[in-house]
Symmetry: C2
Subunit: 591 residues, 2 copies
């Protein structure tokens, strides 16, 4: 079936069931960012492969609402699909709701699959549509037409030791229960896979790039139940969980368990990470306490053991990256290197590292115009040879048993134009401004965001994505609750949080620059004005200085750059061959 | 009655009516920032004169919750009052709610006066207290013991012409109705006095410093009613309103009018600027649409006429300030000048200006240690002579028929210490960073805030108040919806908004520095990255350069300072005597 035929099949069902608009969200029942193939509904219907977007279909319009990261990609992928690109003004907002209110007459009906939408969004949708007496209905028009749909993943899972995690499962459960108590809750239903993975020191491979396991969990006053198919775990691991008092039940029994919660339970759920369908199964008489999952806060603050391990992962990642960039430089002009072959080679260097598990996301490797797509998805058609002059942007990361990495570097190729060098330098200034920031306790990411953007704003330049995101410990490459973005995410930075800083400049059709490090929030010290925090850069990979326009850097920015490169060299040198070390020394030379 | 006796009287009533905790907010039924004397309840009970704070009384504790601006002042004023200072961690938040949840047993009861609390806060309070089955009750234990309480103000009001306001009442009502329609509302109840003043081009003197009139308003589909005592208006003005179809009703009839709104009305109210008591009178069957008052957005964007007039007010204010600082400099060392006499003199210079109406707030004039109190209230006891060495901080403003001003300058006296000069320079850096900022459309005040604080953060310095606030056109000195602060106020800056930028450094017991200008948000222009905005500084008063530590300023910051002072001189010169101009020229000399 072509996209157009699928769209016709949707509309046929809509007409039959008197649904005037059908909303298809990019979600699974766990509200995951990376979806198991079974739930890649938007790709199945429209061909669009971006990670964020919503399809809305009426009888005479079909659109994909997505944000600026995906505009160029969506225009290409949606060609002849029957879907039109609708550009979001504000990323991650359901702007289609206002559109529905405009185009739908009073008394019409909107359908969506309750399993694949968050509680928060379902409520917002219903509240808004009510204004015009528009009803909603729980329908699934995709399952009926998706004949070659793959099943749910059934990969093996494993436990990580208390020594690796720094905290036992029971200690983590106790921390969660403390927060539940503070919030007046005695039960807690968890759907989000990374929260469950953290809580049970559990990892797996059910989802690409995210080492999580398809599961649900319920923390009750005297019992903790993990809903996971037991063939995923070895008898030893099952035993380990049993010994800690964890009850194991099959994955699919979650629905019954939710229905059977006590009628007077006070249940804590995260409305942004719980599906509306599962939420509706909770006893009507139970008191619901809505908030961000306690584990989301807890896991964002890495413990000493985790931090120690992350430093190891950074060393391994830094060695792999050094070898990769040296390989690039040695071979360029000689053998043909493409975005694809470079990505493969980089993955290969990472795979040579002792504790490597897999990539932490799909490598973004874009030369010139492809680098201008912030979330470029490399395909056979888009693949470019890296040659002549320009900028090669590589955003990549690894999952190691000791942590998760995420780094972006831009490699200048041949002769770079002045504008390329200036863009590179301005982005670097943004990174440095964030990296060397000292800020009072209580500072939110939205305050840090503008400080990183400021060097670009001075030249009327901006970028359409956030400046940084939290990152897991051998877990999801994107995790909350903190981020660095213009959005009013009211979460203060705390020591132990690991976050990316990754400003960028994108000139569509020409080139893109993004430079990204991971930073650890650390104590800076007390003054008479209170407690201050700072960042320590964790990422260990040289920042190319050959095209830096020194005239654009302030003295302290230049000092930061030289010190950073020197530190990278000092830390990586013992792990490199003499030849590699010599090469890196040159790269890290002060300018 | 002493504060302690009043507290006993409160507790006696609490015991009689079985109220376990009594919450007293700083509010009137209009949720005004500056309260008519009739509503200065917290001052009456505790002696505290600050504008922000909440008293909470239980049978064994009495506390004032207030923010860092008032810590020093509160400690002095609360001495022997029976109330203890409780320091807010986050300004303007009801942190006492969590305290109540901690100290009160289950099933107890909390009382507060429903007329003197916002809808938003009452709901938040009730929702939170419910967690512990704590009930609330509408009680007034103050009215019963306040025997010498003054009546409600009955000052004359007046209309400002369409020529002065730039827009007719009917045009403003039409704008408000458009926003009501967008929000699905057909009725609108307005309590906030500055919103009403703007909408009806009405001004008065019922509240100190704020030229507002005690009133309510209801915008219905076919009728607009202003609830105001008619003896406030001249027959001509009453006639002007009648001719525009405005219905006038006595102030006290608002309660009946609210009860009589249609049962199927869709009523827009601002839950943060409507009293819970009045809200409860609305028909239960009506649909309520909650949001920021439409007029709050509309009046924040000054029209061309208002901007033209504000520039005139700035010229007059600048002349008064120039004469004041020259007078200070000429007399210091000769005659005795105190904080008090200086404030009086400054008010005198302002009063000489043609369109002067009154002060826009109580002048803050603090020498050295008094300058370290961000919201210092000058009293006979606190009054200091300005002599020897140090910093004299003056934060003052005027109401002119052509606009409202608010400016802070610090005058170095005698020899200043290095730390004073450095603090002065860092604050100036903060002001300059904000003033010369270029930022993309959609930028919020919380993003601008950190850019102004950054020069201080670099030295682990911070200040406990916001960086800036919106300001009215011949209206309140503080107005929303925009501000520049760390709080997540999700309002984007728009061209036409006038806002203060006023970073500060306060060293308790030593000195304080704050430098404040008003800036107008203007278009900067389009680039391929979108539309960019900037600020134009409106305030016209030289910034003293004698103690600037040039080593701390970057080249572009120094250039901004010299250009600003040069502009001030050029604009004020034609309005000054030759002698004054000569003096100012020296002050504005480039450094």
């Amino acid at each position: 079936m072509t996209a157009v035929e699928k769209l016709e099949a949707l509309r046929k069902q809509m007409a039959e069931q008197k649904i005037d608009a059908y909303v298809i969200t990019a979600a699974d029942p766990h509200i995951s960012e990376y979806l198991p193939a079974h739930y890649k509904t938007i790709h199945f219907l429209s061909g669009f492969t971006g990670s964020a977007g919503t399809l809305v279909v009426t009888l005479d319009f079909a659109g994909l609402w997505t944000d600026s990261r995906y505009f160029t990609q969506a225009e290409t992928q949606l060609k002849d699909s029957g879907y039109k690109l609708v550009k979001l003004k504000v990323p991650h907002t359901p702007e289609y709701i206002n559109w529905l209110l405009e185009v739908l007459p009073r008394g019409t009906k909107v359908g969506f699959n309750h399993q694949l939408i968050t509680v928060a969004l379902a409520v917002e949708l219903q509240n808004n549509l009510q204004q015009k007496d528009i009803q909603t209905a729980d329908v699934d028009f995709v399952g009926t037409i998706w004949h070659d749909r793959v099943g749910l993943p059934a990969e093996k899972a494993f436990l990580i030791s208390e020594e690796a995690a720094g905290l036992s499962i029971l200690a983590k459960i106790a921390q969660v229960r403390d927060i539940l108590k503070t919030n007046g809750a005695n039960h807690h239903f968890i759907s989000s896979l990374d929260d469950i993975a953290w809580l049970f020191n559990l990892r797996g491979q059910d989802v690409d790039y995210n080492p999580v396991v398809l599961s649900f969990a319920i923390v009750a006053p005297s019992e903790v139940t993990l809903f996971v198919n037991q063939d995923k775990l070895s008898p030893d691991e099952t035993d380990t969980l049993y010994k800690q008092g964890i009850v194991l039940k099959p994955y699919h029994t979650i629905s019954d368990a939710l229905k059977q919660l006590p009628e007077d339970a006070r249940i804590f759920i995260d409305p942004k990470r719980t599906s509306y369908g599962l939420y509706q199964l909770l006893p009507k008489s139970a008191k619901l306490i809505l908030g961000t999952n306690p584990s989301t806060f807890l896991k964002s603050i890495k413990n000493e053991t985790e931090i120690k391990h992350i430093r190891k992962a950074m060393l391994q990642d830094g060695v792999a990256l050094t070898r990769f960039f040296k390989w690039m430089e040695d071979r360029l002009g000689g053998e043909k290197i493409t975005e694809w072959s470079a990505s493969e080679k980089l993955a290969g260097f990472r795979a040579e590292q002792a504790s490597f598990v897999g990539l932490s996301f799909n490598t973004i490797a874009g030369f010139n115009a492809n680098g201008a797509l912030p979330h470029y998805t490399l395909t056979a058609e888009s693949n470019q040879e890296i040659q002549s002059d320009g900028l090669f942007l590589v955003d990549s990361g690894g999952q190691y048993h000791y942590g998760t990495t995420d780094i972006t570097r831009v490699m200048p190729i041949g002769n770079c134009a002045t504008r390329q060098a200036d863009d590179y330098t301005l982005v670097l200034k943004g990174l440095i401004e964030g990296s060397k920031l000292i800020f009072p306790e209580g500072t939110k990411g939205y305050q840090i965001d503008s400080i990183c953007r400021r060097p670009l704003w001075d030249y009327a330049i901006n970028f359409g994505h956030g400046t940084g995101h939290g990152i897991g410990f051998f877990l999801n490459v994107h995790e909350g609750p903190q981020n660095i973005s213009p959005a009013n995410v009211d979460v203060a930075f705390k020591p132990g949080m690991v976050t990316s800083i990754e400003p960028g400049i994108y000139r569509p059709g020409k080139h893109g620059v993004r430079i990204e490090n991971l930073v650890l929030c650390v104590e800076h010290g007390n003054s008479e004005f209170g407690n201050f925090l700072a960042f320590e850069t964790l990422t260990l990979c040289f920042i190319d200085t050959t095209i830096v326009n020194k005239a654009l850097l302030e003295a302290d920015q230049l000092a930061w750059l030289n010190q950073y490169n020197q530190m990278v060299f000092n830390k990586l040198k013992p792990l490199l061959s003499a030849d590699e070390a010599e090469w890196l020394k040159e790269k890290c030379k002060a300018i």
